[in-house]
């Protein structure tokens, strides 16, 4: 059965239509369906880093996986961008739709705990090097009391990284996997991962290669790349945790967002 709860993740790319997402959330709220909204904000991070003169780097793992280099200066920008800009913008948009929304990060009431990645490997000039000061982490737990209390009031938690690491300082975590972990922890009925691309792509450079039904297997799918790999991983984690309905949907259009949020059985 499940709780009737929907967890929605809207991406950090500029393309995802915040207005469509908020309209969809508002509709669920009007129907008295509980919702948690999880968000990233990579476009805001990039913009703010530029204005603050903080260079953004990447880590290229030996297997080719590219991730954001989160040195302490970047973590500060990430926190400013998510908590101080992307989240207030979403709260304003939700307020316009009459949704009582509450902005949260993993630092609130122990919500998101993570293990800091204390030794990352990156390839520089063909050499593999260990990076020890990165402030990115892997989610280890979701504390549910605050989320339950807000949902009981009919409010919509609006949640983003950072999370709290064992050393008492923040770490960035992947927002898709936050959404999956929250859906699992709250026994959600549905997880919707909105992207700036049309559904699950086999080739992210070719939107025509959309696969209508993606079978979540037990290994990484080499035909799925880029940010979509993370979404597939997050989707698998949620499915394995018992979330019955996991959707990866195009967040760029009002109707695809509405479809993805609609018709919960």
């Amino acid at each position: 059965m499940g709780t009737g709860l929907t967890v929605v993740k809207c991406g950090g790319t500029a393309e995802v239509r915040a207005e469509a997402v908020c309209a969809g959330v508002a509709r669920l709220v009007r129907e008295k369906r509980p919702v948690v909204l999880v968000h990233g904000g990579s476009a805001t991070v990039t913009e703010l880093a530029g204005r603050l003169g903080v260079p953004l780097g990447e880590l290229v793992a030996p297997d080719g996986t590219v991730s954001r280099r989160t040195d302490p200066a970047t973590l500060e920008v990430v926190t400013l961008a998510l908590a101080g800009k992307a989240k207030p913008a979403l709260l304003l948009e939700l307020a316009r739709f009459g949704v009582p929304a509450v902005g949260l990060t993993g630092l609130d009431a122990g919500l998101l705990r993570a293990r800091r990645k204390t030794a990352l490997r990156t390839v520089v000039d063909g050499r593999t090097v260990v990076v020890r000061d990165d402030r990115s982490g892997r989610l280890t737990s979701v504390a549910t009391p605050l989320l339950h209390a807000l949902l009981a009031e009919g409010m919509v938690p609006v949640l983003s990284p950072p999370a709290l690491a064992e050393d008492g300082l923040p770490v960035n975590v992947n927002a898709d996997r936050v959404a999956a972990a929250v859906a699992a922890a709250l026994d959600a009925s549905r997880l919707v991962l909105l992207t700036g691309a049309p559904g699950v792509l086999a080739d992210s450079a070719d939107p025509g290669s959309l696969r209508a039904r993606y079978q979540v297997g037990d290994g990484r799918d080499p035909a799925v790349g880029g940010g979509m790999t993370v979404k597939i991983t997050a989707a698998r984690e949620a499915l394995e945790a018992g979330v019955g309905d996991v959707r990866i949907a195009d967040g760029r259009f009002t109707d695809t967002v509405a479809d993805a949020l609609d018709g919960l059985g």
């Binding site: 793992a61 050499r127 990076v131 960035n172 927002a175 993370v230």
Partner: protein, 61 residues
């Protein structure tokens, strides 16, 4: 045999000889040619090697 540009240090795992180029940087991962252990260059002058930390999965944002 190591060339003139190579420093040799004992592998902390098998005590075998590990040759490292002089332009090696701190943090770099090298492999022991004898036991195939992954070693981290924790110091360059003098050269110091330690067992490399486990690779930490990373998925980006």
């Amino acid at each position: 045999m190591p060339t003139a540009e190579t420093t040799v240090e004992a592998c902390p795992e098998c005590e075998g000889r590990v040759g490292v180029e002089s332009e090696v940087r701190a943090g770099e991962i090298v492999e022991c040619p004898e036991c195939a252990a992954e070693l981290e260059v924790v110091g360059v002058s003098p050269l110091m090697l330690a067992l490399a930390p486990e690779a930490d999965e990373d998925w980006g944002e």
